[in-house]
C-alpha cells in the first residue's frame, strides 16, 4: 500500500512521465563520456597521426580526390569505428560490470529507453568524424596539386561506419555481458575485409561490398568518369544496416525487459505493489530521429499496457523491416554491372584517351591530361625540363608529347605478368592511338604523382624517348625493343638523365635500384610501356650521379652522337664520363640485350 501511495505521488510530480527527456539526458551524458573515453582519444590520435605523417612526409603533394575520399575508409573503420564499438560497448556494460544493474530498476528510464540513449550517444562522435573527414578532404582539395573531385557518398561512409559499429557495440552489450566480444568482432572485421579482397576467391574482390568497408581497390587512381565504385548504394546499404542493428538492440532490450518483468511479477508476493515505478513503460522510438506520439504515463502500472506494447512492437517491426529492406535492396544493387556510360568511357579511355583529355602546350612540349588532372601538368613539366637540361639544346628544342594513361583492369593478378607478345601488341596499339591523336611516340604518364617512384618512372620514359629519338636522327631508324630495354651507353645515359631530373627523381632512382634485381624498370607495371636498364649500366649511371651534373652534361653534349648510338658499349660510357665500370657479371647472371 505504501508503495502504491509513493508511486502516486511520483506520478503527480513527474510531468507526463515522458522518458524521452531522460533518454536524451542519458544520451548527452554518454555522448560526452564517449568523446573523452581513452579509447576514443586513442582512435582519434591514431587516425590523426597517420594523416599527419602523410602531410609531413610530403605524400600529399598531388592528391587524387576521388581516391583520397575512400582510401582511408578502412583505417577509419578500424580506429574510429573500433573506438566507438569498444567505448560504447563498455559504457553499455558499465552497470553490469559494476553490479549496479539492479539499481536501474528503481530509475525512471526503462531498459529499452536506456538502450536508445546509448544508441543516440554515438551520434555526436559520428558528427566529430564527419567534421574530421570534411576538414581532411578540404585540406587535400586546397593543395595546389589536387586532382579530381571527392564523392560525397564515399565521405559520408566514414561517419556511417562509425555509427554502425557504435550501434553494434550496443547490440553486443545486449546479447552478451562479456567484455571480450566487442574486441573480437573488431578483429574479425579486418580479417574478413582483407579476405574478401583476395582476387582468388569465387566472386572476385566484389564480395567485400557486403562488409561495412570494401577493400576493392582499382589498380590505380582513375578519372571520375571511369569510376565504378557503387558508393551511393553502399552508403544506403550501411544505413540500412545501422537501422537494422539499432532496431535489433532495442528489440533485445525490450524482450529482456519483458522477461524480467514477467519473472518479477511471478515472484512478487500477492498484494505487493509494483517493484519499479516505470515498469513496462514500453520502448523508445526505434529510429534515432523523428517524432513519436507522447507516450501515455505508465508510472505505477504493474504490467505494460497492451496497447502501448503493441504499438511499440509494431514500430520496432516497421523499423526493422525498413532497415532490412534497405539493406537487402541496396546491398544487391551494389552488384549491378557497371553502367553503360562508365563502360563506354572505359573503352574510350583505352582506345581513344585523347577524347577524354585536354592538352596544354608549354613551349615545345604538349601535355594531355584526363579531366581533373590538369593541375599536374606543372609538376610533369618540371621533370621534363629536368631531363632536357642534360641534353644538347637542339635536341631539347624538339617537340615532345606527354599523354596520361590509365589502366582500369589490373594486369597483375596472382603475380602473373605479361608475355613478351602481349606486351609488344599493347605497345603497338598504344603507338597507333598516339599517332592517330597527332602525338606520335607520346611519353606515358600515369595517374599517380608526387612520390619518388612515379617521378623517376616518368623521367625514365622521357629520357627513353629523348635517347631513342636521338639515335634515330643519327642512323635513320628508331632502334627500340618492345620491352623498352636499353643497354650499353644508351642505358647509362637514359638512367642518368632520369636520375638527375629532380631531387625526388634521384631519390626514386636509388629506391628503385635498391629494390630491383637484374635491372631497374621505369614505368608503372600496369602499363605495357616501360624502360629497363640492366644493373651494370645502372651502376655507371649512379656513379655519374655522384659527379657534378653540369660537368657530366657538358661531356654528354660534346659526344651526344656516341652516347645515343645503339652499339656504344657501357665501357665507353664509363670512359667518356670518367667513372669506373664494374666488371661483367658471370654469364648466367648477365642480362641478355635484345
Amino acid at each position: 500500500m505504501t508503495t502504491m501511495l509513493t508511486a502516486d505521488r511520483v506520478r503527480a510530480e513527474t510531468p507526463a512521465g515522458d522518458p524521452r527527456r531522460a533518454m536524451l539526458a542519458l544520451a548527452r551524458f554518454e555522448a560526452v563520456r564517449l568523446l573523452r573515453h581513452p579509447v576514443t582519444i586513442a582512435g582519434l590520435l591514431l587516425f590523426g597521426a597517420a594523416e599527419a605523417y602523410g602531410w609531413v612526409s610530403g605524400a600529399n603533394g598531388y592528391p587524387v580526390l576521388q581516391e583520397e575520399d575512400w582510401s582511408k575508409q578502412f583505417l577509419a573503420m578500424l580506429v574510429l569505428g573500433g573506438a566507438a564499438l569498444i567505448a560504447v560497448n563498455l559504457a553499455a556494460l558499465r552497470s553490469s560490470r559494476q553490479a549496479t544493474d539492479a539499481l536501474f530498476d528503481t530509475l525512471v528510464l526503462p531498459d529499452p529507453w536506456r538502450t536508445g540513449g546509448f544508441l543516440l550517444s554515438v551520434l555526436p562522435f559520428g558528427g566529430v568524424v564527419a567534421v574530421l573527414v570534411t576538414v581532411r578532404i578540404g585540406a587535400l582539395a586546397a593543395v595546389p596539386g589536387a586532382a579530381g573531385r571527392p564523392n560525397l557518398f564515399e565521405l559520408a561512409l566514414y561517419p556511417a561506419s562509425v555509427l554502425l559499429l557504435g550501434a553494434a557495440g550496443v547490440l553486443l552489450a545486449q546479447l552478451s555481458r562479456a567484455v571480450i566480444v566487442a574486441p573480437l568482432l573488431l578483429l574479425v572485421l579486418p580479417v574478413l575485409t582483407l579476405a574478401a579482397a583476395l582476387r582468388t576467391l569465387p566472386g572476385g574482390s566484389r564480395t567485400g561490398w557486403l562488409l561495412p568497408v570494401s577493400f576493392d581497390e582499382p589498380p590505380m587512381p582513375m578519372p571520375v568518369v571511369l569510376m565504378a565504385r557503387p558508393a551511393g548504394w553502399h552508403l544506403a546499404y550501411v544505413a540500412g544496416l545501422i537501422v537494422l542493428v539499432a532496431t535489433a538492440a532495442l528489440a533485445v532490450a525490450r524482450a529482456g525487459e519483458r522477461r524480467r518483468l514477467a519473472s518479477t511479477a511471478g515472484n512478487r508476493p500477492a498484494g505487493a505493489g509494483p517493484v519499479r515505478p516505470a515498469a513496462g513503460a514500453g520502448e523508445p522510438r526505434p529510429s534515432a530521429v523523428g517524432a513519436g506520439e507522447p507516450r501515455p504515463s505508465a508510472v505505477g502500472a504493474g504490467e505494460p499496457r497492451p496497447s502501448a506494447v503493441g504499438a511499440g512492437r509494431r514500430r520496432l517491426l516497421v523499423a526493422g523491416a525498413t532497415g532490412l529492406t534497405i539493406a537487402v535492396l541496396a546491398g544487391t544493387a551494389q552488384f549491378l554491372p557497371m553502367s553503360d556510360e562508365v563502360r563506354a568511357a572505359r573503352a574510350t579511355a583505352a582506345e581513344h584517351p585523347a577524347r577524354l583529355q585536354t592538352c596544354r602546350q608549354i613551349d615545345q612540349v604538349a601535355y594531355c591530361a584526363f579531366g581533373g588532372f590538369g593541375s599536374w601538368i606543372e609538376g610533369w613539366d618540371t621533370v621534363v625540363r629536368g631531363v632536357l637540361r642534360g641534353v644538347p639544346d637542339d635536341q631539347a628544342r624538339q617537340p615532345l608529347a606527354v599523354r596520361q594513361r590509365v589502366s582500369t583492369e589490373t594486369r597483375l593478378v596472382d603475380g602473373r605478368s605479361w608475355s613478351a607478345e602481349e606486351q609488344a601488341a599493347d605497345v603497338a596499339a598504344w603507338r597507333k592511338v598516339d599517332a592517330g591523336a597527332g602525338t606520335p611516340n607520346a611519353v606515358t604518364v600515369g595517374t599517380r604523382w608526387g612520390d619518388p617512384l612515379s617521378e623517376v618512372a616518368f623521367a625514365g620514359l622521357v629520357a627513353y624517348e629523348v635517347v631513342v629519338r636521338g639515335g634515330a636522327q643519327a642512323d635513320g631508324r628508331r632502334a627500340e625493343a618492345a620491352s623498352g630495354q636499353l643497354c650499353g651507353a644508351r642505358g647509362v645515359l637514359a638512367a642518368w638523365l632520369a636520375g638527375q631530373a629532380t631531387p625526388r627523381a634521384t631519390e626514386g632512382l636509388h629506391e628503385a635500384d635498391a629494390t630491383s634485381s637484374g635491372g631497374v624498370t621505369f614505368g608503372d607495371p600496369e602499363f605495357p610501356v616501360a624502360m629497363s636498364v640492366p644493373d651494370r649500366e645502372m651502376a655507371v649511371a649512379l656513379a655519374m650521379l655522384k659527379r657534378p651534373a653540369g660537368e657530366v652534361a657538358g661531356v654528354i653534349r660534346q659526344s651526344w652522337a656516341e652516347w645515343v648510338a645503339k652499339g656504344t658499349p657501357t665501357e665507353r660510357a664509363g670512359e667518356l664520363a670518367g667513372v669506373p665500370v664494374p666488371p661483367q657479371p658471370p654469364a648466367e647472371e648477365r642480362t641478355v640485350c635484345e
Partner: protein, 238 residues
Amino acid sequence: MRMTRLRVALLLLSPAARAMPWAAFLAGAGLGLAIVAVPAALPVALADKDLVGLLRAAAVCGAVGIGFLLDDPAARSTATVPTPRPVRYASRVAVILPAVAAWWALILWITVAGAEDGIGATLPLGGVTTEFATLGGIALAAAVIRLRGGRESGGIVAFPVLLALTVTAVLLPPGLALFVPPAGGQWAAAHDRWSVLLAIAVAGSAWATREPIRRRHLRLRSTTEADDHRRAAAAGNR
C-alpha cells in the same frame, strides 16, 4: 624462504587454474582457431604473406584472451591474503604458459597442414611466434599494471592497449615497421625490434607484480606503533 614460496606457488596451481576466467580466453582462442582453420579447410591457395597475416590475426585474438586470464572478481579480498602478489601471479602464469603454448602449437600446426603448394614448410614460424609472445606479454603486462590498483579486471585495459598497439604497429613507417612481409630483407631487423618489445613487456610485468602498497608506509606505521608501545611502557614504568 624461496622454497616455501615455490611450494606455495605449486600448491596454488590447481586452485588458480579453477579460479581463472577461462571463458574470455577460450573465446579469443576459439576465434583465433577459426581464423586459421577456415582458410586451411577451404581449397584456397594462400601466399606466405597471407598465411602470416592470418597467424598474426590469430595471435592478436589469443593475446586479447590472455589479457583476461589474470582477472579476479575477488581482487579486493585476495589483496589481503598472506601469499604475496608475485607468487599468486606466478601460479597463474604457470597455468597460462602451457595452455597458451598448446593452443599456439595447434594454430601453427593447422596453418602448416592447411597450406597449399608446400608453402607451409617455408613459413617463418619462429618469427611469428616471437610476435605472438610479445603480444601476449604486452597483454599480461597491461593487465598486471591495471590490477595493481585493486581492480578486478585487467583484460578491460589490456585489450584496448593491445588493439591500439597493433594498429600502431601496422601503421609504422617502413624504417620502424613491425608487421613486415616474410619475403623481403626487413624480417630480421623487425624481429630484433619484436624481441626488444618482448623483453620490455616481460620486465614490465615482473616489475608490476610487486605489491603496490608501499613498504615505507608499513614500516613507518610499525615504527610509530613500536615507539608508542615503548613510550607507553616507559610511562608505565615511571
